[in-house]
């Protein structure tokens, strides 16, 4: 949700049933604009509000300097106006973070333990099975948060086709020509793309369309994985919900440039989504 279109996007978001409260949005909007200035970011986006076990939330934002996919800089906040840099993601940490199923605690310094290898365990005197001390890995909640955010974006952030494009210099930025999808286009999931560095081959993505355009169509489209439910309401607002991360909503007002994605959820992945779709 681009901070320049924050209010418009919040209106669109409210069609999903959840939105930010007035106070929250005011805090976030103003503090993010200041943050953008401090870090000299090209654009800044509000990404997520994650519930914790306590009363508070984690707020996540990200910005970029030049290339929107490569130069991302993530920030988090526990109160909505003091922002801290989120640590970099490491593949090892992602493995550990995947194992932890509990809610976030709300304290960035909190340390969680996860057992990477379930085969290594010790049987106590009273019969209870506990994982072996050796295989226990610890992870700070801050790191866990960054891993969660990385996976969230990788799996479930969606943009309409044509929002991003690759310049001749291979730099990926926003397309100022984007004027929205038409209703006919929006009904086809091929016109929505993952917000990530494509993992499918370039040819595979291009060959999906007859009228492909090198600059915009090299992204992965979302029709391959069935983990989205798309609806268009009678106000011409398209809402795409992720089934994998309940609470992740991508919205787009048809025939306009307003689009974005926001996660308002509890930080839990739905592990069963593949079995929950009717055959």
């Amino acid at each position: 949700m681009n901070i320049n279109q924050f209010r418009e996007c919040l209106d669109l978001l409210s069609y999903s049933g959840f939105t930010l409260t007035e106070m929250e949005s005011a805090r976030i909007e103003n503090s993010l604009i200041i943050l953008q200035n401090e870090y000299k970011l090209c654009d800044i986006f509000f990404l997520a509000r994650i519930e914790t076990t306590g009363v508070g939330y984690y707020y996540i934002a990200f910005g970029y300097i030049k290339d929107i996919l490569k130069d991302q800089q993530f920030f988090y906040s526990t109160n909505g106006y003091e922002w801290f840099v989120l640590p970099r993601v490491k593949p090892k940490r992602i493995e550990i973070a995947k194992k932890i199923k509990s809610y976030f605690q709300g304290d960035p310094a909190h340390v969680d333990f996860a057992c990477l290898d379930p085969r290594e365990f010790v049987i106590e005197d009273d019969g209870s099975v506990i994982p072996c001390h050796r295989s226990l890995k610890k992870i700070k909640e801050e790191d866990r948060l960054s891993c969660f955010v990385a996976r969230l974006i990788h799996d479930s952030a969606v943009l309409p086709r044509g929002v991003l494009y690759r310049q001749v210099t291979q730099c990926i930025t926003f397309n100022p020509c984007f004027r929205g999808l038409s209703r006919l286009e929006a009904e086809n999931l091929k016109n929505f793309q993952h917000f990530r560095t494509p993992i499918n081959g370039c040819n595979q993505n291009l060959l999906k369309r007859e009228d492909y355009n090198y600059q915009t169509d090299f992204f992965d489209t979302i029709d391959d994985d069935n983990s989205f439910s798309a609806k268009i309401n009678d106000r011409n607002i398209g809402l795409i919900r992720s089934l994998k991360y309940p609470g992740m909503i991508s919205f787009h007002k048809l025939n306009s440039m307003y689009q974005g994605f926001v996660y308002l959820g509890n930080g839990q992945e739905n592990l069963d989504w593949q079995f929950m779709i009717p055959i």
């Binding site: 939105t19 409260t21 007035e22 494009y165 310049q167 020509c177 439910s229 839990q268």
Partner: protein, 579 residues
């Protein structure tokens, strides 16, 4: 340009036709550019269009995205061409259908003038027109409850935008106008894959309710008769093993059907006969047993009737009353709703459920788990000695004297309720459930007390499948153990959970965290909201004397582990019939 031409002329003294000249080159180049393609366009037109557009619009840094810009211009020309071709064909506006649906509901009401005083209509949406008399205001009065409650939800960042609230209240108003409906309340929204359900909780008038109960029962019976597996078996000619097996299980007690099956086996090819020779025939009777009675439906989990619709403006569709069977199955299923009431959700060959029944069971479970209010906000309707006027709605007059436990008494808003202080409201002790809790055997205490004994097998099965991960809100480990003993002995039931139980006793089954989070609104001081972690998406709020519950979500109960489908019941494997 002129300069260069002059310089050229100097170089070329004679400008005869055969000799090269700049003018001719330019003409040639222009002719080349003006060559028309199959579509009738030429590059010359396009370039001039693009340049004109750049000069007109003056976009910033157009060079950076010139390819895209040019592409857009080209697309636009196609669009206008298309428009010209179809000029004579009229195209209907996109939202004509919704407008046609909605307008009657808005107009219909405003034609019935209501005399309203100016004072008491804040926060109600109204269209007022001055009548002939000066002091009478004809106003369209929407269900102000709904609008007001939605206003508070919006303050909390939950609920729908104003425009949708208006639509919703128009639509609910239409339902309310029906004679059979005594009161209704917006319950929430169930999200589906294709469509979402708006759910309204209604109380029917007494006569209408008894009619409704009667009308519910044949529906259930019909469903049992048309099991999907049977139809499968009859269609496929060589019966596949699995279907024939499930058929046997279905009708094991029915001798005719067994002999039918044997006949069918004889007709099978020889290689099939081999495997079916000693095929186990089960005594297991699936959960379609005959205990779905009027009583059970009537004294089911709650006596509300729920209406759903997927598009606001459509007719509201009543959901059938829930039964313990449906609730049990819904506990085993973890599936997304599709948005079509008549679709099937299939768990295995035994258990399947119509989406409307599943939805109803979910609503019952969610209501039981998450409908909470501050302590003393509601009270039983029967023990009011002081206020007769609060009992104006005589629909649920309690003549059921046989209701031995408290759970069957209808409740109402306590007129003597004094708002608790904010400090107290922030503690869970001051919140209570006001819906009957669903017990382990998935019904209210009343039904169990009446002694309708379910099959012991069924009970065991239910228990294995549910109890460990799903006893709505009340799953202490101790409770589970008690339940198991009872089931094994076949002796009768646990005491029903009392109605106004405090929320502080609730537990999440797998986690150490509290199942509720209480938050104070950051905008309005006295607004307190409670969020459920058992059913993510369920909320309650209280402000002074206003209290409401809402649910917006997929109907998924939170679990930190994967959902495991129940194992195939042992009965199907153990009991063999000697042939």
């Amino acid at each position: 340009m002129k300069l260069s031409q002059n310089s050229c002329k100097r170089q070329m003294p004679a400008n005869s036709e055969g000799l090269p000249s700049l003018k001719r080159d330019l003409q040639n180049a222009k002719l080349f550019l003006q060559q028309r393609t199959a579509s009738g366009e030429s590059l010359y037109d396009h370039l001039s269009n693009v340049i004109a557009k750049v000069v007109d619009e003056r976009p910033k840094d157009v060079l950076e995205y010139f390819e895209l810009f040019s592409q857009r211009v080209r697309e636009e020309t196609f669009r206008t061409n298309e428009g010209n071709m179809l000029e004579n064909n009229y195209k209907k506006p996109e939202h004509l259908v919704t407008a046609l649906k909605l307008l009657p509901t808005i107009i219909e009401k405003s034609e019935q003038p209501i005399k309203a005083t100016v004072g008491n209509d804040d926060e109600t949406l109204k269209k007022s027109t001055k009548g002939d008399e000066g002091d009478v205001i004809y106003c369209k009065k929407l269900s102000e409850d709904l609008c007001e409650l939605q206003f508070y939800w919006n303050l909390l960042g939950i609920g729908f935008p104003r425009e949708e609230v208006l639509k919703l209240s128009c639509s609910v108003e239409k339902l309310k106008a029906h004679a059979a409906i005594a009161s209704c309340r917006f319950w929430g929204k169930m999200l589906g894959l294709k469509k979402d359900y708006y759910v309204v909780e209604t109380t029917l008038t007494k006569s209408a309710f008894s009619d409704w109960i009667v009308s519910c029962i044949p529906q259930h019976m019909e469903e049992k008769e048309c099991l999907p597996t049977e139809s499968l078996a009859s269609e496929s000619n060589p019966i596949p093993l699995t279907t024939s097996a499930s058929m046997m299980m279905k009708k094991a007690d029915d001798k005719d059907s067994v002999s039918d099956l044997r006949d069918k086996m004889k007709r099978m090819p020889t290689e099939w006969k081999f495997s079916l020779k000693n095929f186990p025939v089960s005594q297991y009777r699936p959960h379609t047993a005959n205990y779905v009675t009027e009583k059970e439906i009537e004294y089911g989990v709650d006596r509300h009737v729920y209406f759903v619709c997927t598009d606001l403006g459509d007719d509201w569709i009543p959901l059938p009353q829930e039964t313990s069977h449906h609730i049990n199955i819904s506990r085993q299923i973890k599936k997304y709703l599709t948005g079509y009431l008549d679709s099937y959700l299939i768990l295995d060959s035994e258990s399947y459920i119509l989406e409307r029944n599943y939805l109803r069971a979910l609503i019952a479970r969610i209501s039981a788990g998450t409908h909470i209010s501050p302590r003393n906000f509601y009270k039983f309707q029967s023990d009011d000695n002081e206020n007769f006027f609060d009992d104006l709605d005589d629909d649920d007059d309690d003549d059921d004297n046989d209701a031995s436990s408290n759970n069957e008494k209808p409740i109402k808003v306590n007129s003597a309720y004094r708002p608790w202080s904010i400090k107290k409201l922030l503690q869970l002790d001051y919140w209570q459930h006001h819906k009957v809790q669903i017990t382990e055997y998935s019904n209210s205490g009343f039904f169990l007390k009446k002694g309708k004994v379910t099959d012991e097998n069924d009970r065991k099965l239910d228990e294995e499948n549910n109890v460990s991960r799903d006893t709505d809100d009340k799953g202490d480990d101790n409770d589970d153990d008690d339940g198991r003993e009872i089931a094994n002995n076949g002796i009768k039931p646990e005491t029903p959970i009392p109605l106004f139980a405090s929320c502080s006793g609730d537990q999440l089954t797998n986690d150490a965290m509290s199942p509720w989070t209480i938050r104070l609104s950051d905008v309005v001081e006295t607004l307190v909201s409670v969020q459920s972690h058992v059913w993510p998406g369920a909320f309650a709020f209280v402000k002074d004397r206003i209290c409401d519950n809402i649910y917006i979500g997929y109907g998924l109960k939170s679990s930190s582990t994967n959902a495991t489908p129940p194992a195939i019941p042992n009965e199907t494997l153990d009991n063999r019939e000697d042939s």
